[in-house]
């Protein structure tokens, strides 16, 4: 598809980031090896190049980190809120100073385009620390009683789709409220969390307040189950979320879960089509669709379906897939071989079940993990591609005739995280938004985030909210 959209390559320099050949665990303010000496490799999903070798935390390391966090908790929680605030402000500033470095690092380790890490992830990461820094000395005014108390040691397990942003969502409110933290980043994207550990050192954060334990699912499971953890926060799949809920059952651990989604993006016949197309594209192709709140089900009013699909296909043909470090790249690499195979399996099932698959002409690089932007039409509500979370650049298109039908179809899912509404009619926005069972509703826009704005799901998309005043509750004893 050589066209006017053929751009000259404009790769971001990777020399701004210095990745060491190996990294340890970050426990009690020091980088240390795993007790059993285990390590794993993290690779760049766009090239399969090994970036670094990372210490893999085992049960003994989890115990050591939790003990460090417990010891640190006494002093940290006793600090005046205004002092804790200053640490968080320092961290926010250092993140801003190092944001170019961190953006490149994140793109290398995750595979997402530099324009997303640079323009979305990093500004939001800094903003979260700024926002919660300001809460640290104002907790009495947050609406949770006159002297809300921290919970203690927070065990946090985060996913690979927004490694540093999810860290910020977890660590900023935890520290602002006076908790200490043991965080496990995902096994495919541990690097930015380890760089964050270095930022904590630069900021002079007391030892043990933040501990980072790279590892696989078993590391996370050990952290969640540790008897001296007071609060568990998890972002990831619904299946793992249910397992965690069973693990903490009967304990006093406070739990918040941000899980899967199958968001409906509803386009009414009076919607501005060009704007809607942009919203649909950002809804499902942002971060290669590896977003829990992605608008992965397009519900389009029958009368405008053909027109919309034509525009959408034309727009998809202009998306540029390739080197994530290139500033012109829209679609980067899929995060891992495992995720690519999951997407591939689900898409093949979609075809086998009779949905019609379409992708623009799109050359995929020969190394790395890639999946072309994909549309499914002729989809019914019973199809796997309309029910299961694919977590990839795959959009399923369904149609509807009346607003009631749109609402019924949108709500026909065990998930309830996000939804989109496209219409010029204000009363329709409010009526439909009121009826949708979802935690975040974007009208005439999609995939917008802000630290002041609570985020989280209904039903099997989990419970609790992150962000905003609501996000403080997860880290406070509000009984």
């Amino acid at each position: 598809m050589a066209s006017v959209f053929e751009y000259a390559p404009a790769p971001e320099s990777r020399s701004v980031v210095d990745i060491a050949p190996s990294y340890g665990l970050f426990i009690d303010g020091e980088f240390v090896e795993a007790a059993d000496g285990k390590v794993f490799k993290t690779v760049s999903p766009s090239t399969e190049e090994v970036l670094s070798e990372i210490a893999q935390a085992g049960e003994a390391d989890v115990d050591r980190a939790v003990r460090a966090a417990r010891t640190a908790f006494g002093k940290w929680s006793a600090l005046p809120g205004s002092e804790r605030a200053k640490y968080l402000f320092r961290i926010a500033r250092i993140i801003q100073e190092r944001s170019r470095e961190l953006a490149v690092l994140e793109t290398l380790d995750n595979g997402k385009p530099i324009k997303e890490t640079r323009d979305a992830d990093l500004p939001l990461v800094a903003a979260h620390f700024f926002y919660y820094a300001g809460w640290a000395d104002k907790l009495d005014h947050a609406g949770f009683g006159p002297s809300p108390r921290p919970l203690g040691v927070a065990g946090q397990v985060i996913p690979w789709n927004f490694p540093l942003l999810m860290l910020a969502w977890k660590i900023a409110p935890a520290l602002a409220t006076g908790n200490t933290v043991v965080l496990k980043p995902a096994e495919t994207t541990p690097l930015s969390a380890l760089f964050f550990a270095d930022i904590c050192r630069q900021a002079g954060l007391p030892k043990g307040v933040v501990n980072i334990l790279p590892g696989y699912g078993d590391t996370g499971a050990a952290l969640v189950a540790h008897p001296d953890v007071n609060k568990v926060a998890f972002t990831g799949s619904t299946a793992v979320g249910k397992q965690i809920a069973r693990t903490v059952a009967g304990s006093r651990k406070k739990l918040t879960l941000e899980l899967g989604g199958k968001g409906a993006n509803i386009v009414f016949d009076d919607a501005p089509i060009d704007q809607a197309v942009e919203g649909i594209v950002s809804g499902i192709f942002f971060n290669q669709g590896q977003v829990c709140c992605a608008g992965s089900r397009l519900l389009v009013q029958e009368s405008v379906q053909d027109e919309l699909l034509e525009s959408l296909k034309r727009r998809l043909s202009t998306l540029r897939l390739g080197d994530p470090l290139d500033k012109n790249t829209d679609i980067g690499a899929i995060n891992s071989a495992e995720q690519l195979s999951r997407i591939t399996t689900l898409v093949e099932r979609g075809e086998a079940e009779g949905a019609e698959r379409w992708s623009p002409d799109c050359e995929l690089p020969t190394s790395g993990y890639w999946f072309a932007p994909t549309l499914f039409t002729n989809v019914t509500q019973a199809h796997t591609v309309a029910r299961d979370e694919i977590f990839g650049p795959v959009l399923s298109v369904l149609s509807f005739r009346t607003p009631e039908e749109a609402v019924a179809k949108a709500n026909n899912t065990p998930y309830g995280l996000s939804a989109g509404i496209w219409t010029e009619k204000g009363s329709r926005i409010l009526a439909v938004a009121g009826k949708l069972r979802a935690g975040v509703i974007w009208s005439n826009t999609f995939n917008k985030f802000d630290p002041t704005s609570p985020f989280g799901g209904y039903k099997e998309s989990g419970f609790g909210r992150e962000g905003g005043r609501h996000g403080l509750e997860a880290y406070l004893d509000v009984r």
């Binding site: 979320g241 809920a245 975040v440 509703i441 826009t445 802000d450 704005s453 209904y458 099997e460 905003g468």
Partner: protein, 303 residues
């Protein structure tokens, strides 16, 4: 026979009440046909209460789900009016409840009266919350961009409530009222040993404009009724107030299957203390709606 003995023989025989469940606005007997004996704290028989089965529990879920749309969609003002109407009916039946609470909890008439008065006042307190909770826990978010962004609370759905075992009326109302004040519908499992005040409360609901199915009252073995409800895919939340530690853990594990919101048992020494808002917020979701504002950007007008 003398006139005297004649008079004694003719002394009026009281009418016993057959206590029934309250499900979907109706008063069914248990589908199981079972009852169990309820006695006062001295062991004197008071009545036979229905011993609900799994089927009764499932029927209650159907009724609660059916009522959810109308109840959650009613205006908060309307819900407040109806809740206040319940308080009016409670006040009128004060004597009956004093009697039942005294029997259930082994209290003197005056202590029981205090409990009942506190209960009615508690109900009035929650009636006043219906149209205020959204203002207290919701609000606008000052996002850094040209967007209008509003967070508002919404009821989570169908809530199973295991009523406290000891406080048969004040404890019961303290866990039921916050659930429905916020627009949820409820399936209430009454105190196992002292279910009569709860079953009589169903009669109050039936005469209070409360739509059928908004509150459903089951009596019987708490563990037996709670198990299918904790596992039920169409129940959104569970309040484990009336569960002991072992049962609470078992039910919490079952509740994980569809990620129900779980309110764990909280030790309550004094049910008459200020309850706070936690029992309301435990069963609320937060919905955040975004819309472009068309604010003037650096580049000029965009609306």
């Amino acid at each position: 026979m003398s006139d005297k003995t004649d008079k004694t023989a003719q002394r009026r025989l009281s009418v016993f009440k057959t206590y029934k469940l309250y499900v979907g606005g109706k008063f069914p007997r248990s589908e199981s046909g079972r009852v169990y004996e309820v006695s006062d704290t001295k062991g004197t028989w008071l009545a036979n209460a229905p011993q609900s089965s799994r089927k009764d529990a499932r029927d209650a879920v159907v009724a609660a789900r059916k009522a959810f749309g109308g109840w959650s969609g009613a205006t908060a003002y309307n819900r407040g009016q109806i809740l206040y109407r319940v308080a009016e009916m409670l006040e009128a039946r004060r004597g009956q409840f004093v009697h039942e609470v005294a029997d259930a909890e082994g209290l003197s008439k005056s202590r029981a009266a205090e409990q009942v008065e506190a209960t009615i006042d508690r109900w009035v307190w929650y009636a006043g919350w219906t149209d205020k909770i959204a203002q207290v826990v919701g609000g606008g978010n000052p996002v850094a961009g040209p967007y209008f962004n509003l967070s508002s609370p919404e009821p989570t759905g169908v809530v199973t409530v295991l009523a406290p075992q000891e406080s048969s009326f004040l404890g019961l109302v303290s866990v039921v009222a916050p659930v429905i004040a916020t627009g949820n519908t409820a399936i209430v499992i009454a105190s196992e040993r002292s279910p009569l005040p709860a079953l009589s409360l169903g009669e109050v609901f039936a005469t209070s404009d409360l739509p059928g199915g908004v509150v459903n009252v089951l009596s019987g073995r708490t563990a037996e009724i709670a198990a299918p409800l904790a596992a039920h895919q169409d129940v959104n939340a569970i309040d484990l107030a009336g569960a002991d530690e072992a049962l609470a853990k078992e039910l919490e594990i079952a509740a994980a299957d569809n990620l129900k919101r779980v309110l764990r048992p909280q030790p309550v020494d004094d049910w008459s203390a200020d309850p706070g808002t936690d029992r309301m917020t435990a069963f609320l979701e937060t919905k955040t709606v975004w819309h472009p504002t068309g604010s003037l950007g650096a580049s000029g007008s965009s609306y």
